[in-house]
Amino acid sequence: MAGSTLASPSAEPVVVAAKTSAAVSPGRETWRRFRRHRLAMASSVVLALLVLGVVIGPWLWPIAINEIDFSAQLQTPSWAHPFGTDDLGQDILARMIYGGRISLAVGLAAMVVATFVGVVVGAVAGMSRRYADSFLMWVTDLFLSLPQLPLLLLVIYLFREQLKAAFGVEGGVFVLIVIVIGGLRWMPVARLVRAQFMSLREKEFVEAARAQGATRFRQMVHHILPNALGPVIVAATIEVSSAIIAESTLSFLGLGFPPDIPTWGRLLFDAKDHLDSAPHWALFPGAAIFLTVLSINFIGDGLRDALDPRRVI
């Protein structure tokens, strides 16, 4: 192979000449492309501020979440209570800071669980040409058709006590809720991934990899999965919002966190009886959920574009 002469050079011009630095690692290139997505960058800042706020907030705003003050019921925002107070005179900002930790953690963790399960199930089904596909899709349809609330009740009554013993009260409920929400929301992702895999596995570049001797695992991880990620990222960002809402539903039904833990969803539900007299009570947690979901959505968009080298940014 050494010492070979040059072949007749290609006479065609290179299509894209506007490429500045030739040798950048793919990771840095992705970061460079992500940075140019303005909305995604702004959203990253917003999300970082939200996370930072709920993490270090208690030190900056040291009002206890359960400090009841009947003289300050349902106050509108003021300097003493920037987000106002609820019907027991508790400070909403302090409660949101505390609850935000749980809501964000539940939302993100449930998204990770749902997406992971969905991608694994979808990928295995999409790659299989025989029985695994029919079996997994049968299971997916089964999960989709199950009535979710009775199932939730059953799971929670069966396992709550053991988990509480293992992880403590809050930890146990957290693990339970993440598993329950994640475990009941992976089906759309699985269907999406399966469809993507089915069309991608027939593509010539996958066949080319096969012809070069790539194992099935390598075909999946290196060739098919990166090309299937675009829609999955978008679906995953939507999962975050639905997980935050689902957590509040569970809390409302008394199945989630104890009522004294003010998650964002819980705050919303508590506020619903006072919407006419104290709209701020619902507005602030609602805005927080909205901001979180929106920024995660934009970050997902930015990631999808940054990871796709064909898209000109």
């Binding site: 007749s8 290609s10 793919p26 570049f205 066949e207 012809a211 070069q212 001797g213 790539a214 080298p309």
Partner: protein
């Protein structure tokens, strides 16, 4: 010209808005089309030929495009016409047929309904009159049993038949001008010959003018009275077709013509030959020589395929009962020596690609053996098979589809090395640079992504990737079919160079007889999954025996307008389907040796009926 032209285009400039700037795609193009004349607009992809046609129809996207100059149809200026009047011109005076007959018909409406609807709308016929007229039109485009096929849906028609339906639809309003935009590109050669014949015939009967857009010089030579050669949005040469082929002035035209493979140009030569390289600026050409003798005839063949059979089962019903089988490859045997090119030729559905994939074991064959340097590939387990794949590689038809869009080119070329653990990451980087140089690219292109390259460059990248593991055999599945002529010539030259240097054996799968004649040492002709004739290239092209080989050769357009009238009449047959009933037992075939190494299948009665029928019959 004494008669006024039907269509007169002068100084046509069409620009598109790209990111706020007007970018001209067609510049200053002028031509006339006389009554009953066929004008061909020829050029490579991106030359602006299709945009020219769309500009005449004023079908370019409004708002983002601008058409300047003048387009006159029978003296009437089209560019200043109100939209409502222009709509009347479209379909009535100018009709258009497109490249993809598969997607131009609505799949949920019967073809009769679709044609009749156009007649009712444009010519205000009653429903019954429109139906009668539709049947007349279907008969006019020579659709057999037109009356009974009136109520059938498009999926029941083959590609060639669908293109006939499209032509019938275009003729519905007796247009003065027919614009045909690559109407035969998606069709097989024998079907292409039929459609070209039909267009010529209809033109005589209807007395219309034809604007024929194509990239294929062979088709131009076949059909056009005059030709416009386009390059980079400009008409570089206009003239009578004979003149352009005989005395091209512009260097680009000359380079284009020299890159066109001409059937019959290799008579008397034993070995493959490079395409001449013509400088696009000066028009000077070098004289290619025959490639050196690369075939290692004394050694054991690199690959020996015997009795290879691949069938696909068609299952349907609740329990997945086998309803039929596609006999894609049936009892195929051949061998390829080191340094030799065996071409597999045939039309779509003949099983040539399935043969290539079965040899690579990308598809599991049903029976037979594939000996690669003595090892039976079909008996290996998955692990040994991956090991063995180092020795054979594949180059696919569409270079863009066969490169992972998310992987940069360096990673793509390095992948086979890393998969097979032939190199560490840093060694692989050096090897990638060397391979890129070897296929005529720059080593610093390794960090770019496939979409940043042109078609020919992508195919070079695919070749580099296939060469990375230093294989003995390369299966090239229609590897140059999707490329422009001049790029095609370059890639073929590269493949020939590499063969001479590395003693590669090629299994060259192609439908393009002219390219095959240029590159191959031996040729195998496939029909319905079987090899009907195999032998040295000279024997197959010079002394074809099997009726199918003859038919295939007769259908190839010859890039020489002076030989237009020597052509054999084309048969009006359709390509048959290899789908058989579940209990079908394939007949046992006998072969007859014509000369040493040239064997032909002994054919039965189905070929004895007058194989050649006039198209007008």
């Amino acid at each position: 010209m004494t008669t006024p032209p039907i269509l007169s285009v002068s100084n046509l400039t069409t620009s598109f808005r790209v990111e706020g700037l007007w970018k001209p795609v067609v510049r200053n193009v002028s031509f006339d089309i006389a009554p009953k004349e066929t004008l061909a607009v020829v050029g490579e992809s991106g030359s602006g030929k299709s945009v020219t046609a769309l500009s005449i129809m004023r079908l370019t996207p409004s708002g983002n495009s601008r058409i300047e100059g003048s387009i006159k149809l029978s003296g009437q200026e089209l560019l200043t016409l109100p939209d409502a009047d222009m709509r009347k011109i479209r379909g009535n005076d100018i009709a258009m047929i497109f490249q993809e007959p598969m997607t131009s018909l609505n799949p949920v409406l019967t073809i009769g309904f679709q044609i009749a609807e156009a007649l009712i709308l444009h010519r205000n016929l009653s429903r019954s009159a429109a139906e009668a007229e539709t049947i007349r039109l279907l008969e006019k485009v020579r659709i057999p049993a037109a009356k009974s096929r009136f109520h059938e849906y498009p999926h029941r028609f083959s590609g060639g038949m669908r293109q006939r339906v499209m032509i019938a639809m275009a003729l519905a309003c007796k247009p003065k001008l027919l614009i045909a935009d690559e109407p035969t590109t998606a069709l097989d050669v024998t079907i292409q010959a039929q459609i070209l014949e039909l267009i010529k015939l209809l033109q005589e009967e209807e007395g219309m003018s034809v604007l024929f857009i194509t990239h294929d010089m062979g088709v131009v030579a076949e059909i056009a009275d005059r030709t416009v050669v386009m390059y980079n949005g400009e008409a570089v040469e206009t003239g009578a077709t004979e003149d352009i082929f005989a005395r091209a002035h512009h260097p680009y035209t000359r380079s284009l013509l020299s890159a066109v493979p001409k059937l019959g140009s290799m008579t008397g030569r034993r070995r493959p030959m490079r395409f001449p390289v013509v400088d696009r600026l000066t028009g000077e050409s070098d004289v290619p020589t025959e490639t050196p003798d690369t075939v290692e005839a004394s050694e054991r063949p690199v690959i020996e395929v015997s009795n290879l059979t691949t069938r696909f089962e068609i299952r349907s019903g609740l329990l997945g009962k086998v309803q039929g089988r596609v006999h894609a490859v049936e009892n195929v045997s051949f061998s390829v020596q080191a340094g030799e090119t065996l071409a597999l030729v045939g039309e779509s559905g003949c099983g040539k690609s399935t043969t290539g994939r079965s040899v690579m074991r990308l598809i599991e064959p049903l029976a037979g053996s594939v000996l690669l340097d003595g090892v039976d590939v079909l008996k290996l387990n998955q692990h040994d098979l991956r090991e063995q794949r180092k020795r054979m590689q594949m180059i696919f038809q569409d270079p863009f589809a066969s490169l992972n869009p998310r992987m940069n080119v360096g990673a793509a070329i390095a992948e086979p090395l890393l998969i097979n653990k032939l190199a560490t990451r840093s060694e692989a980087r050096d090897k990638v640079a060397e391979l890129l140089r070897r296929v005529g690219l720059q080593p610093d292109m390794a960090s770019r992504f496939p979409h940043e390259f042109s078609g020919g460059q992508r195919q070079r990248i695919c070749i580099a990737r296939a060469l990375a593991v230093e294989p003995r055999l390369i299966v090239a599945d229609e590897s140059v079919s999707a490329l422009d002529v001049s790029v095609k010539a370059q890639v073929i030259n590269l493949m020939l160079e590499l063969q001479a240097r590395m003693k590669l054996a090629y299994l060259f799968i192609s439908h393009d007889m002219a390219v095959v004649e240029r590159v191959s040492h031996r040729v195998a002709v496939m029909y319905l999954g079987e090899i009907v004739e195999i032998g040295p290239r000279e024997a197959i092209f010079g002394n074809p025996q099997h009726p199918y080989t003859k038919r295939l050769l007769a259908a190839v357009p010859i890039a020489d307008p002076t030989r237009r009238h020597e052509k054999n009449p084309v048969s009006n047959d359709e390509i048959k389907s290899p789908v058989r009933a579940a209990d079908y037992i394939p007949p046992i075939r006998q072969y007859r040796e014509v000369s040493p190494g040239h064997a032909v299948m002994i054919w039965g009665e189905e070929w004895e009926k007058p194989a050649v029928q006039g198209i007008a019959a």
